[in-house]
Structures are given as structure tokens and as C-alpha cells.
């Protein structure tokens, strides 16, 4: 008997609290697979966000700490500077990283902290009920812009990755997605590179993963991944944004 596919051993057997079809579960497994393949399980420390992924520590076996909403990169800075031999990564949603945590994010990136960031962008505040996030796209409907985001009233979607890419402290930023099997494989490659950069002490690396939130997009999981393919990645193109 040959094994063709099995989930990462670092992922626990817990049943997640995520809604059906949520991209968080796919990304959790990818992070665990990368940590397993790089053999860094014993020295990895994750910082979980406030957001839907707040309970991530129940799902992966490496050490995880929690930060106040938006502050994972401040906590990561402290851990990495105190224990530079550890591999430190943050796992953050768009509300966490790009709204309440914008200051911490920008300055950690600008300082070139040698950490890895997994930025899960689903365009809404999932945990609190699907309100508009800075990354919500124009005309996208959410609980707080029921007729769709309007630039005059709500401003424009924040291009977080492009914004951070201009900072000298940043060494690698790539935008990927998990809406089809090919995209999942590319996301894993990007996450692996972002961890390898940290091992090679290259500096701040971030992978922005466009992730589906079927519940607060008001779609079925199948419709949600189709929306990413037909609509979202036309507006926020995937690919390497910076690699130095």
C-alpha cells in the first residue's frame, strides 16, 4: 500500500470551527506541511491573530501565542529579537493586519524584521459578522456597505502588498490564492519560500493569500471559489510583487 496524499502530521485531528468551504483550513494545512518539510517544527513559534483564525493553536502542533487584535507583528518582533534562532511567523486576517494593525505591520516591515507573515485576505471581517474591511473591493457587498463599497463614501480598497513592497526592509511579497488545486500548490511554494527567507536571514517576507469566505460573501463554497477566479483575481492580480 502506497500513500499518495495525507494531511500534514503537524496539523492536529481537531475538527475546525471554520464554516464549510473556508480557506483558512486549506492554508493551515499548507503552513503545517511547509514547517514539516523544512524540519523546523521544534523551533517554530506562530502568532495567531484576533479574527476567525483566533483558535489556530488548537489546529497545529508547534507553539503558538496570541496577540491583541492587529498586533501579531509587534509580538513577533519581540520574540524574534529575544530568540533569533527561532522561526517566527504571524498568521493574520485583513482586518487584523490591514485595519487595526496597520501601524504595527508597516513599521515591522519597514524595520525589515526577519519574520514571515501569512496574510489571509478574504475582504471582510469574518469573525465579527462580515463587516467591510480595508481590502473589501469596490461594489462588494458587506454587512456595513449593503449596497456595495462605494469609493466616495468608503474610500478605495487598500493595496497592502503593493504598499509594503516599496519599503526597503521588505525582501519578499507574493499574492496567491487557494481557489483551485493549482493555486493551492503555488501558495504552498510561496509559503515555503517565505520561511526559507527567514532561515537564510533575508528579512521581512509576506504571502498574501486571497481566501474565500463563503458565509459573508453570501455564496456557496463552490460559487465563492468561482468568484475568485472570475472576478477577484482580475482586480487584484496574483503573482510575485517583490523578491530581492
Amino acid at each position: 500500500m502506497k500513500e499518495i496524499y495525507k494531511k500534514s502530521n503537524i496539523l492536529t485531528d481537531a475538527i475546525t470551527h471554520y464554516c464549510p468551504g473556508c480557506g483558512h483550513g486549506i492554508i493551515h494545512n499548507l503552513v503545517c506541511e511547509v514547517v514539516e518539510e523544512l524540519g523546523i517544527m521544534e523551533k517554530t513559534i506562530a502568532i495567531a491573530p484576533v479574527g476567525c483564525a483566533v483558535l489556530a493553536y488548537d489546529y497545529w502542533k508547534f507553539d503558538t501565542t496570541e496577540a491583541a487584535h492587529g498586533r501579531p507583528l509587534a509580538v513577533a518582533t519581540g520574540i524574534k529579537r529575544a530568540r533569533p534562532e527561532l522561526i517566527v511567523f504571524t498568521y493574520q486576517g485583513d482586518g487584523d493586519l490591514a485595519a487595526i494593525g496597520t501601524a504595527e505591520t508597516v513599521h515591522a516591515a519597514n524595520r525589515g524584521e526577519n519574520v514571515t507573515v501569512i496574510f489571509v485576505n478574504n475582504g471582510v471581517y469574518g469573525m465579527t459578522g462580515g463587516q467591510m474591511a480595508p481590502t473589501t473591493l469596490l461594489s462588494q457587498k458587506t454587512a456595513t456597505c449593503i449596497n456595495g463599497r462605494n469609493a466616495k463614501r468608503d474610500g478605495y480598497p487598500l493595496k497592502v502588498s503593493e504598499m509594503l513592497a516599496v519599503l526597503d526592509g521588505v525582501c519578499y511579497i507574493e499574492r496567491t490564492s487557494v481557489h483551485n488545486p493549482g493555486a493551492v500548490i503555488k501558495t504552498k511554494k510561496a509559503i515555503k519560500k517565505a520561511f526559507q527567507n527567514q532561515i537564510e536571514k533575508k528579512g521581512f517576507s509576506m504571502v498574501e493569500v486571497i481566501s474565500q469566505c463563503p458565509t459573508y460573501w453570501g455564496l456557496s463554497p463552490v460559487e465563492a471559489v468561482e468568484k475568485i477566479e472570475k472576478d477577484i483575481i482580475k482586480k487584484v492580480p496574483l503573482g510575485v510583487i517583490k523578491d530581492v
Binding site: M1, E3, I4, L11, I15, P20, G21, P181, P221, V222
Partner: protein, 69 residues
């Protein structure tokens, strides 16, 4: 023969595996699991699994294992 093993207690019925299976070998089950969800099941009656892993890669619950017997 390649077999897709689906943990029906973990499955939340999102159907992303079913959507991407190039051979159409995954279908919705008629039996509810303990949480009242109709999980998906592997049905090899329509053909042979090619082991592409698409179903497992798309599974948000990591509930799919693929083995070659």
C-alpha cells in the same frame, strides 16, 4: 487501485473536492454524519481514480487521504 478515503465526520459538505475531481468520482452522500451534515463519499463505480490529489488539496478540513492499494 487508488482509493480516496474521506473522513465523513470531518467533512462539512462544502463540495470543493467534488467540484474539482476530474473524473467525477466524488458524490454527495445521502446519510447524515453526527453533526447533521451530508458529507461527500468516494464512488469508484464511474471509473478509476488517477491520484491527482485535487480533492485533497482543496479540502479545508484536511479530511481526505489517498492511498494506492
Amino acid at each position: 487501485m487508488i482509493k480516496v478515503k474521506i473522513d465523513s465526520e470531518k467533512c462539512k459538505g462544502c463540495n470543493l473536492c467534488l467540484m474539482y475531481c476530474p473524473k467525477g468520482l466524488i458524490k454527495e452522500s445521502k446519510i447524515l454524519n453526527k453533526r447533521g451534515i451530508c458529507p461527500v463519499e468516494f464512488d469508484s463505480s464511474k471509473g478509476a481514480c488517477i491520484g491527482c490529489r485535487f480533492c485533497a488539496l482543496m479540502c479545508p478540513e484536511s479530511a481526505i487521504e489517498i492511498i494506492d492499494e
